[in-house]
Subunit: 207 residues, 2 copies
DNA sequence: GTCTATATAACGATAGAC
DNA sequence: GTCTATCGTTATATAGAC
């Protein structure tokens, strides 16, 4: 059998590593900190994962792998653009709310080392996003969308969905709000953003 | 005199450190790499800046200090909201185009260590953004803006302005474009975004 | 599989000659 | 101010007992 049960220790290590790597980055993370958080002996990290680099690689890849198929799936449902876009926004926000640290983590690591997951991401995301871009393009040619290149439309959608999670710390400072107020801010956002994205993308005035 | 001329070596070190810290982060940066990039001997780093930590602190603070007053200034010019917003977008994009690595750098470091520049940023940005929020609020009460809380409006504006610079690597992969195509993408964005931001904020249909 | 003890390597930092 | 050589610390990694 392929999926034997992973030992509790191995899972605890992985979870701890995920937390530490996501908040501190590869070089900022300490193996000792991961061990402490997992409540195991430091040498267990090497027993299960051989090296810091290999442990990181697993965390990094799974951070992405876990999300990509779900996101890509949303983009390939057979729905008219408006419904698909609204659905995408709703589900995407749900997903990212459960994994709020992943975007900044991935962006920072990709920035340090653009090569690492490039081909992998290209296949997983790049190819799956193309049909969605085509669909927007079709609607655009019918005059049903805002008059912008599809790439710009796509980036605008992504920007509005992701940025608040990436910029949390700065936003809390400049808006002068605490953690719980920020969570409220996100809840509010989740409520209006799907409709708002439809509006600014399809250029409707029906908000 | 306070401003004696800084030695060429000292400046070269600082510039190299800025590049390396901004792309690798505090822990990811190597003193040797900074020295190589500055084309000086590694011990010179310590001669001028004593420690890695102190060198980093200077780079980090100046990265922010250099931008904040300029941005804050744009928000406090005495203009009607529409003109101010358009002007802000134009100038902000110019500024960030010259310093495209700063946003991700600052966000990553703030995320690792939210305390480091908190009070500093609060005074420099937080207080200066408030009048702008008030101005949006006034227009909103007159029914001149999109019907969203001012904080949401502000975050939407910031998201659309900054995110492409933060997400460059990922965007290039998923849109399958190279460096020069991405630069074109940004130029295109600079052209339409100021008007587009006015449109989606003031809810005008005059794009 | 888990622990303690220790080896090894990397890196920041300093001493000292020039 | 600048260089070479080297120190000291920290962190990753391994050896070996249990």
């Amino acid at each position: 059998m392929q999926n034997e049960e992973q030992s509790s220790t191995e899972v605890k290590i992985f979870e701890a590593a995920r937390e530490v790597f996501q908040s501190k980055g590869l070089e900022g993370a300490r193996m000792q900190e991961i061990a402490d958080k997992a409540e195991i002996n430091k040498s267990m990290l090497h027993y299960y994962y051989r090296s810091k680099e290999k442990l990181f690689e697993k965390v990094y890849q799974l951070s992405i792998i876990k999300l990509i198929p779900q996101i890509a799936g949303l983009l390939n449902e057979d729905l008219p653009l408006e419904a698909k876009l609204r659905n995408f926004a709703i589900k995407y926000l749900e997903l990212i709310k459960l994994n709020p640290d992943i975007p900044l983590f991935v962006l920072h690591e990709m920035n340090k080392n653009p090569g690492r997951l490039k081909t992998f991401m290209l296949n997983e995301v790049g190819k799956k996003i193309q049909p969605f871009l085509n669909q927007i393009q079709e609607e655009r040619e019918k005059g049903n969308t805002v008059d912008l290149p599809v790439e710009q439309i796509m980036v605008n959608i992504i920007s509005l969905l992701i940025f608040p999670f990436i910029g949390r710390q700065v936003l809390q400072v400049i808006l002068n709000i605490d953690d719980s107020e920020f969570d409220q801010f996100i809840e509010e956002r989740i409520k209006y953003l799907p409709d708002y994205l439809v509006k600014i993308t399809l250029d409707k005035n029906s908000l």
